[in-house]
Symmetry: C2
Subunit: 371 residues, 2 copies
């Protein structure tokens, strides 16, 4: 089966919506936050802990897995789910974003991108066809089209040309994608910081018969007000009957604005990266557990959070672990951050279901902007 989006409820005042995404590895309740398991592991966490933290789907990175261990190994292992012991849905990105952000680019041509591996400097090449082959070998439920993620400072001309290339690449992805019965290819809307290009990109991308679409090239360095403006402009243009995925975005204000614009899926490394650095999510933003003021604070990270970490550990203990450079500190704070984000999403979804999304949004903003 390919993924199927079931629209359950729409907010009468915004574009927010609650739905269910049916996938070969189970259902996902949207809007959803997807934790990132870059190298076939959500960093520092057992899969059981990721599940307990409420994750219904995770994202894994094609670029990293291609370089190490190599998609041939994952395929021989029986696919990514089996390899990493994760039986829920997996989405893989296309490698495009990492090629542009992590690797040293050698050359971008119509054919694809040649670059040097960030691990050993060896010369590599990824094309739309290569990205499809890798993702087909990985066996993820949702696979992403290979696109160029344009720098937000790129001019109109470059952005326009790139958007057209991304569109031609999408056609090649569609042609190259082999497992259409089990893996669902999502197209990616680009168009940089220009509204008319965003509109054109939506039109070109979403006219193709694909099971889902995403917005790329946002949250890549531009100011937040501009990002939100482009989001509110772009998302409602996309088809209502397909899932809409905003790539690489994970802050709570973006969850709320994205959802209000009609986004269904979000992913971000922030929850786990912050966790390993000792920063914990709370409703108003984050707290840094290294701070000396938590030395004798025997309360949980967030007294309103009922996650495993908040039920069992104090800030004083977590601070001790982080200060003493103990791995468990990063594990526990990542655990909390994922749980806190999935709970935030669940609460937002319930608000939509109960016609209270606007109230939820206003209450959230009071806490978020007045900290």
């Amino acid at each position: 089966m390919t993924v199927k989006f079931e629209l359950i409820k729409e907010c009468p005042h915004t574009h927010a919506r609650a739905g269910i995404l049916h996938t070969p590895h189970g259902d996902i309740e949207t809007p959803i936050f997807m934790p990132v398991g870059t190298k076939a592991t959500v960093k520092a966490m057992l899969p059981e802990a990721v599940k307990d933290a409420g994750a219904q789907i995770i994202l894994s990175n094609t670029y990293h897995l291609h370089l190490r261990p190599g998609e041939d190994i994952v395929k021989k292992a029986g696919g990514l789910h089996k390899f990493m012991n994760w039986d829920r849905p997996i989405l893989t990105d296309s490698g495009g974003f990492q090629v542009f952000s992590l690797a040293k680019i050698n050359d971008i041509t119509e054919e694809g991108v040649s670059f040097r591996s960030h691990i050993d400097g060896s010369l590599k090449f990824i094309s739309p066809e290569k990205s499809m082959q890798i993702q087909n070998d990985l066996g993820s439920d949702i696979i992403m089209a290979f696109d160029e993620c344009v720098n937000p400072e790129a001019d109109y001309k470059y952005t326009e040309r790139s958007m057209h290339m991304t569109n031609r690449w999408l056609d090649r992805c569609i042609a190259a994608h082999k497992n259409t019965d089990t893996q669902s290819l999502f197209g990616i809307v680009q168009g940089g910081m220009f509204k008319d290009l965003r509109r054109q990109s939506v039109e070109m991308t979403c006219e193709k018969d694909l099971p889902g679409f995403s917005i790329g090239g946002l949250s890549v360095g531009e100011e937040k007000p501009l990002m939100f403006e482009l989001l509110h402009y772009t998302t409602p243009l996309m088809p209502k009957d397909k899932p809409r995925y905003l790539m690489g975005v994970g802050s709570y204000d973006a969850f709320v604005e994205g959802t209000a614009s009609g986004i269904d899926m979000f992913d971000c490394v922030m929850q786990t990266r912050m966790g390993r650095n000792g920063a914990a999510l709370v409703r108003s933003g984050r707290i840094n557990l290294k701070n000396a003021k938590y030395r004798e604070d025997f309360t949980p990270i967030d007294p309103d959070c009922d996650c495993y970490v908040c039920r069992n550990y104090t800030k004083a203990y977590l601070r001790h672990l982080i200060v003493a450079d103990e791995i468990l500190g990063g594990t526990l704070i990542s655990y909390h951050n994922i749980a806190h984000s999935t709970n935030f999403m669940k609460e937002m979804r319930n608000a939509i279901l109960n016609d209270k999304f606007v109230e939820f949004k206003c209450n959230f903003e009071k806490v978020w902007y007045n900290k």
Copy 2:
């Protein structure tokens, strides 16, 4: 309550024995392997995983916790069990071994040891009284006497003098220990590499009315045959009705020899340290999962092991995690190593219960020495 040792069964051919140690936080089946949670965490593992790996009791380090976060914090948190979310028994060492192995010693006198912290170089002082105060504040179920752990190359004279000092320190520990109703103080037999000193130390130490005794100063650099010889000489001299604990020893050959000599308790950091370095325990010793030959090995670490890790992960995946420097690699191999060791102990205990310890020992040695 203090701990109480219940002798269940003795091997008719060796000094091996199976028992139950009753503690304020539950019963422990002996012989037992105790994983080490130095800084109030078994490195890289959630407490639930440590339990699932079969750990019935863990050891934590007085020296490290004194330096960071400080026993005052742990006490205010409600004690070590609550601080670290571990509701099973905890044994703390006295700090003696770490002072001599990790810190830069400033001065050893009859009064105690002054040393420089390995963290910030600050001058610290631990005496028998100080060690008791720290361990009383930590609230562990079993606390250890403050002793001098003598270098195996020390001469007879130094070793003899030190042994007498350790004995005087034990009297001071007994006098200083405040929570005799809830925490059980174990005396430590020293005497270096000299049998007659070991005998004298057993006599001096074990004539005191304490709930348990341990053997210190072995596995500190001497050859294994000498260690085993001293072990087989010393352990049977100790009282039969009290638990006997061999400190800092965790290899399978030592588990078997120690048990044959009448030891009930073992601890070692090896299981978790090896795990974080990518080395996994198997019956014949260890395998290094970084090895390229495991790249496409889709079998578990040990096909005869039924632990969580061997049920769910392949060597290829574990190798990928270790090579990619992913924290989960260390977590999973530590998990396996603890489970493998506790299962080894369980099997050995069952052999004793079924009058098959000698058979178990012979079978083990065939695999261990013919690898």
